[in-house]
């Protein structure tokens, strides 16, 4: 396709109308690009919120004023609650040092060894009895502490589930978001192409109109060509506008014919290809 074909539909339209069409198109593109930029900011923020929710980011991202920010704010708040509950649970576990299920079995074992009759060679010594007696009531207190925090474990589990659901919702929204981004991209692409075409045409049209010499200079040229003389002022004015060179260039077409440029002839003979190197050694 030649350039003339590309602009064929524009030739019959006025330059002003084309200029206006071009400006409108640029505004639309800018608007869409702005929307696209906002979408990218939102996308990044969503990604950061998800990373924060799954512990891959240590601090919560700042939620900007974007679309569907409620969901993101909800996720951040839920993560903070979850972290708080986790730290309470960890604090309890650190304080106890032994998980609850092991405490119950140890309590049973101690009670049995302290109270059940066994062969004298297997029965605990007084020192062991004292140790087990002391531990028995400590374990009782530990189990009571665990029982007092049993609600905490449920709360941790609930908070975890809730956060997971919110993250899933954000992911679902993200898929919609990706579709919107793709739509924005496909909407902008033809507009950019059209704007480029209009700009190219307008630039081409603006170059086509050369600056005409002032009438006075035209007159001087004609007079000089006719062999008349010029005053010093007229001669100075002529020099400032391009001088005698301009005059020669105007005369030259008739006297010296332009040489035709030689077109470089390109060989289109088949060329031998490069030898392929074998992958096997």
């Amino acid at each position: 396709m030649t350039s003339s074909d590309l602009f064929s539909d524009l030739r019959d339209v006025g330059l002003e109308e084309l200029q206006e069409r071009y400006s409108t198109l640029l505004e639309d593109i800018q608007r869409l690009e702005g929307e696209r930029r906002d979408m990218y900011v939102a996308k990044k923020l969503r990604s950061e919120v998800i990373r924060y929710a799954v512990n891959k980011l240590s601090s919560a991202p700042t939620i900007q004023d974007i679309a569907q920010k409620d969901l993101l704010e909800k996720a951040v708040a839920e993560k903070q609650v979850f972290d708080q509950l986790l730290s309470q649970r960890d604090e309890l576990n650190n304080r106890m040092g032994v998980p609850r299920y092991r405490l119950v079995s140890t309590l049973q074992e101690f009670h049995s060894r302290l109270t059940q009759h066994s062969h004298h060679s297997e029965s605990p010594s007084l020192a062991s009895e004292i140790e087990m007696f002391s531990r028995y009531f400590e374990i009782q207190a530990m189990i009571e502490a665990y029982n007092a925090h049993r609600g905490l474990l449920k709360d941790v589990e609930n908070a975890r589930r809730q956060l997971l659901e919110t993250v899933k919702s954000i992911n679902r929204e993200d898929r919609k978001f990706a579709q919107q981004l793709a739509a924005n991209s496909s909407e902008t692409r033809p507009m950019r192409r059209e704007a480029g075409r209009l700009r190219a045409f307008l630039e081409k049209e603006s170059k086509r109109q050369p600056d005409p010499l002032p009438d006075e200079i035209e007159e001087f040229s004609l007079r000089l060509a006719a062999g008349d003389s010029l005053t010093m002022e007229e001669f100075s004015s002529l020099l400032s506008q391009g001088g005698l060179t301009e005059l020669e260039s105007r005369e030259s077409p008739s006297s010296t014919p332009q040489k035709k440029k030689k077109k470089s002839q390109r060989r289109v003979d088949p060329m031998p290809g490069r030898k392929r190197k074998s992958a096997k050694k």
Binding site: H117, F133, E138
Partner: protein, 143 residues
């Protein structure tokens, strides 16, 4: 015993249960001691016999086979003697430990448990368990 029942056991009840078991053991330990003394006496008797035999064989011109048999028999009796001595000491130690335990647990209830409930009280007050404290000490030593 169910976990719920284990949680309701009091120090008094547990000490009483320990004392009950200890007193039960105190009833049959003397019989056990008698048995072990008899066993030890028997072991000494057979050990002495084997010892005299091997001394006699070594003094005579007995064959190597006879000497070997006598040596093996002596070693067997010697091992038996050592086992009975060990078993006798275990019973004697159990009797002594039992007497001390009965004395200790009888006195402890009256002395309000002394330091025995310190760990439990600390955990109840929101402190760390002895398991955690031991773990922390081990970490400090490693560092």
């Amino acid at each position: 015993m169910e976990a719920k029942d284990l949680m309701s056991v009091t120090p008094e009840a547990l000490a009483e249960a320990i004392l009950r078991r200890r007193k039960q053991a105190a009833n049959h330990l003397p019989d056990e001691l008698t048995k072990r003394i008899e066993e030890n006496d028997r072991a000494y008797a057979v050990f002495n016999e084997a010892k005299q035999r091997i001394e006699a064989i070594e003094a005579s011109d007995s064959s190597d086979d006879d000497r070997e048999k006598a040596r093996l028999e002596f070693e067997e009796k010697e091992a038996f003697r050592r086992r009975t001595v060990s078993r006798l000491w275990v019973v004697k130690h159990a009797i002594k430990d039992n007497e001390e335990a009965i004395e200790f647990w009888s006195a402890m209830a009256d002395e309000n448990w002394g330091h025995l409930l310190e760990n439990a009280e600390r955990v109840k007050a929101g402190g760390a368990s002895s398991y955690t404290r031991i773990g922390e000490k081990v970490s400090e030593v490693k560092e």
